[in-house]
Symmetry: C2
Subunit: 423 residues, 2 copies
């Protein structure tokens, strides 16, 4: 009993002798850690400028066989739609009928390109003829969506996918149908979905050393209190990014974000803290990429130590299959896996009761990830993931609270930075 | 066919002749509508100042039989815990054993008070003795939570419920147990959960004519672009609210919020627009209440025309059963139901295909709501809800997009305001 009490004391957050906390004593002064971060920043900036023009499909001689989309201005979207409809009209007048060439977004038409480190779409396309029983509805839906997008480009307003659906419920029947055709239309026009002015609900927040303009208003993210600034749903109205941060800290979950925001971690180690509160949404992915490109900052990720944490990291880094046609605009290259990594569980002596057993599904997801190209190309990640699958243990970021609520911001993260402990 | 085409044209959002839109022609100039709103504001302010001190349990002679909590300062929380623990120590030393008196939060201990228009907790409490097989664990958990809260009050930091749970996973076993005891502890100490510095993940956003301070930073919500300001999770660090708005527009869903934010609806009709993006979270409820109390503005609600829309309205207005002990701090009195109301479906000629049939569960929820006191006391609401249950039809706010994406901000809402069409 006495022995057990002793043990409990060691990880009691209210322990007076905080030096007992794992690694608290190995922390160097902040200026030493800041030097480390400055070197990381320099390396990132140099890498960005040496490969000033990032690799493209053309550089890899893939332009003819792969398809990518770009950001188009509203007037380009408008004229592209008009050109497309003129072509269709010509086709009808010349007796070739009414139909659209629609790029395939099926799994079989997707390709991971290691040099680009992301998934792209191959060039297969299928004809969607109006005069065919099986495609008459889909062709009608496609035409309707084109008309609606044309209208948005004229009015210069943004709408949600739900708004689109409600313009003609009878035709679309359910929202998955208008959503799917919306992605088809983006591929057909060769532009990103955000160029179409159709936005998804935003849920991300950002706080820290960043100033940017949102729809004309200047936002200073050091002056956003603890709540932070909601990430705007329309990236095309975001601009003028300025920052004196040394890195971007990408956080999977809200709770860790709140801890870091309240402790104003970004003032001790100049950084920008961003989270999508779980699954990355399109707005947060676009925002992260824009920060990375414009500010040339290293990105360090803090996620749960489970297969979904790594999966989330991969969506930010390499894109999702569903929107692979837009991967060049949605992905942020070279994100480092800072933590919580499977090897941290033992290293930081996270007590057994704060670790969770992986379910069968977790283990399967972990094994599937080991087969993914974006994991394979990073030997450090493979090693960590193998360890996770072997020990069958996972842990949330919050597990660190066992050493005190501020262990994350006061010991774990500073030490990680000091030791350059990212992969 | 020709006839059908004609019909379709009437509700085509890209129709050139927008005067065809329902009621577009009955809209008066903005200055007329603004006059209406100023009168509403005056009435609200007068009502607030005439009943300068809102009714309390004492006024109703219920103080002895009902229990309510108040906001306590950190130092009061600290001293209350210390007093409680001293009492327990005395009890042990005098041979009466170790235990806590814990207020019951069961349904049978809850009471709707019409005069207050909210649910309160009755005074039943039960002893939670340590020396009893059935309660030894819960007593231990209670003691642990008290110790953790005491620590938070000393350090003056905020944590999430998840953080609390992870301080002792072995003891708490799962998070529902630490969460439940946390509410017990708030009742025992007689303070709100936010006084305990335990916060929930925030998801609400606010935009429009509001200036406030968040953790010391001044936030101007007219300068938050389209994304708006994330509502802070810790209401105790929110203050200095200033506004020239005429009303608060409470919006159920994100999509409608985005439309109004992009159109800067708050500049045409000075208002504050707030949404919790679905189910109201504690942070948004506290924020709405604080705005209402400090700024004395009328609150108009825009929710889906279905039982859940009304349910959401009721949570903002009268509280949820789960946190009834805190209802006086979480609820916002006198919220008006602006729309979408069941009678709007016919009035605004929302096409059949944009209405959805109610499921059996929807109808049951609707009928249950008709039995609730907070609905019964408002004859207008009863009438609307009866209509919904009778027609068995529901509709989302987005259904208005059938008349064009901006019909909501340009016709529907202005007309509602002009006609004082709220209940």
């Amino acid at each position: 009993m006495a022995d057990k009490k002793q043990k409990q004391k060691r990880r009691r957050p209210d322990s007076d002798d905080e030096s007992e906390l794992p690694f608290k004593n190995t922390l160097k002064p902040d200026r030493v850690i800041l030097e480390t971060l400055k070197k990381l920043l320099l390396a990132t900036t140099t890498a960005s400028s040496s490969t000033s023009k990032p690799l493209t499909l053309s550089d890899l001689n893939l332009a003819a066989t792969c398809r990518e989309v770009t950001d188009l201005s509203l007037s380009s979207v408008q004229s592209t739609i008009e050109t497309l409809i003129l072509q269709v009209t010509h086709s009808i007048l010349s007796g070739n009928g009414f139909g659209f060439q629609v790029p395939s977004r099926a799994s079989s038409n997707q390709l991971y390109v290691p040099e680009l480190d992301r998934i792209v779409l191959k060039d297969k396309a299928t004809l969607r003829p109006f005069a065919h029983m099986s495609s008459v509805r889909k062709t009608t839906i496609t035409t309707k969506i084109l008309a609606l997008i044309h209208q948005l480009s004229l009015k210069s307003i943004h709408v949600t996918k739900r708004d689109l659906f409600y313009t003609d419920v009878k035709l679309f029947q359910d929202q998955t149908q208008s959503d799917a055709v919306l992605d088809d239309v983006a591929c057909m026009l060769g532009c990103t979905r955000s160029s179409l002015n159709v936005i998804a609900s935003e849920k991300g927040v950002v706080v820290g050393r960043l100033i940017f303009s949102d729809n004309g208003d200047m936002i200073d993210c050091t002056k956003m209190g603890m709540g932070g600034k909601a990430i705007p749903p329309n990236i095309d109205r975001v601009g003028d990014m300025k920052s004196d941060a040394l890195f971007i800290l990408l956080v999977e979950k809200d709770a860790a974000y709140i801890r870091l925001a309240e402790d104003r971690f970004y003032n001790r180690f100049p950084c920008i803290i961003v989270t999508a509160k779980g699954q990355p949404d399109v707005a947060t992915r676009l925002f992260l990429r824009k920060m990375k490109i414009e500010l040339k900052l290293p990105v360090l990720a803090l996620v749960d130590s489970d297969p979904y944490g790594l999966k989330i990291l991969s969506v930010y880094g390499c894109g999702s299959k569903n929107m692979s046609y837009d991967s060049s605009n949605l992905t942020t290259p070279d994100i480092k896996w800072l933590g919580i990594r499977p090897s941290d569980l033992d290293k930081y002596k996270i007590p057994e009761q704060c670790r969770l057993p992986m379910t069968e599904q977790d283990i399967k997801t972990g094994k599937d990830l080991l087969e993914e190209d974006f994991v394979k190309k990073n030997p450090g990640w493979v090693e960590e993931l193998n360890l996770m699958v072997k020990t069958k243990q996972k842990a949330e970021i919050q597990a660190l609270s066992t050493f005190g609520f501020q262990y994350l911001s006061e010991v774990y993260l500073p030490l990680k930075l000091q030791q350059k402990d990212w992969l």
